[in-house]
Structure formats: structure tokens, C-alpha cells
Amino acid sequence: MRRQRLGDTLFRAVTRGFALGVLLLLGAIIASLVSGSIPAFREFGPSFLISTAWNPVKENFGALPAIYGTLVTSLLAMMLAVPIAFGIAIFLTELCPPLLRRPIGTLIELLAAIPSIIYGIWGLFVLAPVLQSVVQPALIGSLGEIPLLGVLFAGPPLGLGILTASIILAVMVLPFIASVSRDVFLTVPPLLRESAYGMGATTSEVIRDIIIPHSRAGIVGGVMLGLGRALGETMAVTFVIGNAHHIKASLLAPGTTISATLANEFTEAVSTLYTSSLIALGLILFVITLIVLAMANYMLWRMGSREEA
């Protein structure tokens, strides 16, 4: 009897230990990144965050171009992905014949299973040439002619750059946003939906007036989750962003992101200051994604607790 009770205490302690381990893991990641980035912050101070310099030879580094590229590609990707993802979620919950619901949902989710590097190689060899020869000249010829807005589409069609990276990112986050939105759309009580249809509302009115208001927190959570993924995405972006440490107004120009800079340069960095600057970039990326993901999970958790209530 006593041996059994000892077994219980031990088993509980072990599982508790591993649960604590998960908490400690996050702390250890932050601590190791902070300690690794100390030399860079000591050398450059807070101006590391706003400097646009990136000169490995003179050892002068600044994070702004990478931060800018990370934010711009991710936001642009969200602008492209969110409407399409909602369309898919609406299709799967409201329009799709029940028999096809699972297969189509699964196919969309398989998009999320394809590894980042596959998107990279596809973006480089298939998407970029098409963009360069067809889409970008069309953009330059049409939107590029408009004053003010034209700045965004100036310059030669290179195929590689901010826009290409954003499109690839949009495809990659699409399945996440679509499947989270579908799941929250499905939490709308059938009674509400059917009452609206019963009063003569059209499908689009049911979506606008019943489904979206009811699942707002969940939708925002899903979008933020997608944003968190886009911010940290590495390989696909590294292939198609062009890897240039500068800030250009044009979306067709090459740029860089934090993750692409790390992937390209980390193993080539020889000096302590170079390595430390790259680790500091990693720390900045981790902090940004932590904030976005924490907000996303809070929104989804709020949605979940309302569902149970």
C-alpha cells in the first residue's frame, strides 16, 4: 500500500516536473537570446533598433531594415490571405455540400503541412518568373502610373522582393486562418443561424449580421495566429526576398527580414559582434512574435470560455 502511494507521489511529481520544464523552456530561450545579444546592445545601444547600417566588414550593424521587411511582408501577406481565408471558411461552413466538406477541408489543411522549404523552392523557380514576366510589368504599367500610390510599384520587375515574399507568406498562412475561422464559424448556434434564414435573410446577410458578430474574437485570434506564423517564417522568405539590407518604398524592390538575415548570414558570421548582432535580431523577432501570439491565444481562449459558458 505504501509502495503504491509512493508510486503516485513520484508519478505526479515527474509529470509536474515536465510541465514546469515547458515553462522553464520559454524562460531559457529568452535568457539565452538576451545573454547572446548583450555584446551587440553594449556596442550599439538602443540605436541598434533604428539604425539602417549593415556592414559586416566595418562591423556596423542596425536592425531597422530587417524589422521593416519582417513587418511589411507579414502585413501585406495578411492583407492578401485574410479575405481568401474567410472565403474558404464561408464556403466550408455555408456552401459546401456536406459530402465534400471533409475532403476539401483536409486538402486546404494539407497546404499547411507542406514544409516551408518547398514553398521556397516553388516560389523561386515557379512563382517568381511568372511575377517577373507577367504580373509585375502589369502592376508597374497600371498602378505604377498613379501618383503617390505609384511609389509602391516603382522600379524594374525583378521577380524577387517584398511582394513575392508576401505572396508566398500569404499562401502559407492561408490554411491556418481558414481552419481557425471555420472552427469558430461552426460554434455559432444553429438556432441563431436558422432563425435568420427563417426571417428571409440571404446567406451573405447571415454571414455579416449573425456569424461574424458572434465569432469576432475567434476571427481576430485566428488572424493574429496567422500573423505570428508569418512573422517568424524563414525558409520560404529566404528564397524569394532578395536579401538586401535597405529600406525601399517600392514593394517590387528586394529587401530582407529578420529570419532571412539569420538563415543567410549566421553561419558566415565570424566575429563575436556580428554573431551577437544576429542573435539580437533573433531576440527582437522572438519578442514581436511572443506579443502577437499571446494576444492571439488570449482572443481564442476568450472565445473558448464563452463557448463553454
Partner: protein, 285 residues
């Protein structure tokens, strides 16, 4: 009906059609991208498959060779990563589902775990670089495996917690009534009941890490030659695809496409298998 009413009705119908047409178009676009990717993988990757592809190590530029060392490295590191990450994840999931469903610690662990689930994998690579590669002084297959294990843990925690929570409490109570201590109830009864679901979670985790490149860049690095030594740099498929695809050599690019096709087929098969397993177990209940 007055003409004003007709107008309103017509407009509502038009708006409805537009919204529905757009959502059809969105779905078609999503599926089209999947087929386009698979099509280019098959078209460019299939010609690379051959006996050499699976039996030779990676060649020098313009040389003849295959991806044997990279395939082996990927298999070994994925296996070791899964072997380290799975028990950690299952024990943590057990704590959340069996011992402490709503304590403050459990809430915190759940929250942090959900964040780790989507955390950028390249940062995990940096972390392992700082804590393992720097102290050891060199890149190694072990470091790569640990980085992959860190990615496995949150997936397994999430699925095993969910699957354990689905086990009816009647089963537990029956075992308790027979006088079994809690650890025996969990290990001999609850784990068995949730086995298929947990296996699904592990398969999904394997599918996730099998194609991960970013965490291996600064941990396992790469090795052009055959190497079974986990204590040194190790070849792996994702890194080879990265390096070869961006190279100017046609032979290397060809191998990169072949590797990409191989890895995608493996991952999609794992994913579909995992889903079938999940469905099968839920039908049974």
C-alpha cells in the same frame, strides 16, 4: 410589390451572389495552389529519382551522386528528436489532463505551450546554438535532434492533453474502485484508451519536424559526405535542398527538386495516415 421593394430585393440578391461567388473563387484558388505546387514538384522532381538518388552521397558541383547521406541524416535526427520530445510531451500532457486540470500552473503551462507551438523555429535553432553548439565547440547531429525535439514537445503536449481528456471518467472510476493507485490507472487504463489519439499527435509532430530547415541551419549544419556520427555535423535533406536549389549548377538543382518531392510525399503521407487513424479511432468510440 412596389418598385422600391423590388429594387431592394434585387440588390440584396445581387450582393448575395457576389459574396457567394467570391467564396467559391477563394476555395478554388486555395486548391489550385496546392495542385500547382504538387504538379511542379512531380514534374521537376520525378526525373531525379533513380538508383543513384537513393544509394550515393551528395556530389560535388557538376558531379554524379544522390542524397543518401542527407536522407539518412534526416531520418536519424527526426527519429531521435521524436524519441526525446514524445515522452516529455506525453508526461506534460498527463499532468494537464489527469492531475491538474484547472490550477494556475496548468493554465500557465497551456498558455505558454500554445505560444511555443507557433514560435518561430529559427529562434529555437538560435537557442540550441547558444546552449549546445557554442559550449561543445562544433555543429552536431545531437544539437539538431534537440532542436527538433523542442518543436515536437508542444505538438505532443497539446494532442495528448486533448486525447486524455476525452477518455470517459467512468473508466478511471472503475479502475479506482478496484483499488488501483492513480499511476496505474493512468498508465494501464487511460493511456491505453487514448493510445490511437496520442499516436496521431506523434505522427503529426513527426510530419512537422521532418521538413523543418530553419532549426537545423545552426545546429546540425550539413555534411557533404556520408556520416553516421551524431557528434559531428550531419547531412540532412532540408539543408541540402536549400543549398542545392540556390546553387547555379543544374545537377544540384535537379537533386534539390528530387529531395523536395521526396520530403513532401513523405510528409503528406504521414499527415493523411495520421488523419485516417484519428477518424478510425473516433468511429470506434
Amino acid at each position: 410589390m412596389s418598385s422600391a421593394n423590388l429594387l431592394l430585393y434585387g440588390r440584396r440578391r445581387a450582393v448575395n451572389y457576389i459574396v457567394l461567388a467570391l467564396s467559391y473563387a477563394a476555395t478554388v484558388a486555395g486548391l489550385l495552389v496546392l495542385f500547382l505546387i504538387m504538379w511542379s514538384l512531380l514534374r521537376n522532381g520525378l526525373p531525379a529519382f533513380g538508383i543513384d538518388f537513393f544509394t550515393q552521397s551528395t556530389p560535388p558541383p557538376n558531379g554524379e551522386g544522390g542524397l543518401l547521406n542527407a536522407i539518412y541524416g534526416s531520418l536519424v535526427m527526426t527519429a531521435v528528436g521524436t524519441a526525446i520530445g514524445t515522452p516529455v510531451g506525453i508526461l506534460c500532457g498527463t499532468f494537464l489532463a489527469e492531475f491538474s486540470r484547472s490550477s494556475r500552473l496548468a493554465m500557465a503551462v497551456r498558455f505558454i505551450n500554445d505560444i511555443l507551438l507557433s514560435a518561430p523555429s529559427i529562434v529555437i535553432g538560435l537557442f540550441v546554438y547558444v546552449v549546445m553548439v557554442v559550449p561543445m565547440g562544433h555543429f552536431s547531429g545531437w544539437a539538431g535532434s534537440v532542436a527538433l525535439a523542442i518543436l515536437v514537445v508542444p505538438v505532443v503536449v497539446r494532442t495528448s492533453e486533448n486525447m486524455l481528456s476525452l477518455v470517459p471518467s467512468g473508466l478511471r472510476e472503475a479502475a479506482f474502485a478496484l483499488g488501483a493507485p492513480q499511476w496505474k490507472v493512468v498508465v494501464l487504463v487511460v493511456y491505453r484508451a487514448a493510445m490511437q489519439g496520442m499516436l496521431t499527435g506523434v505522427l503529426l509532430a513527426v510530419a512537422r519536424i521532418a521538413g523543418e530547415t530553419a532549426p537545423l541551419l545552426f545546429t546540425a549544419f550539413n555534411n557533404q559526405f556520408w556520416s553516421a556520427n551524431m557528434d559531428g555535423p550531419m547531412g540532412n535533406l532540408p539543408y541540402v535542398i536549400f543549398q542545392f536549389a540556390l546553387s547555379p549548377y543544374a545537377g544540384w538543382q535537379q537533386l534539390a527538386w528530387g529531395g523536395a518531392l521526396l520530403i513532401t510525399l513523405a510528409i503528406l503521407t504521414l499527415n493523411i495516415f495520421a488523419r485516417l487513424l484519428a477518424n478510425w479511432s473516433s468511429f470506434e468510440k
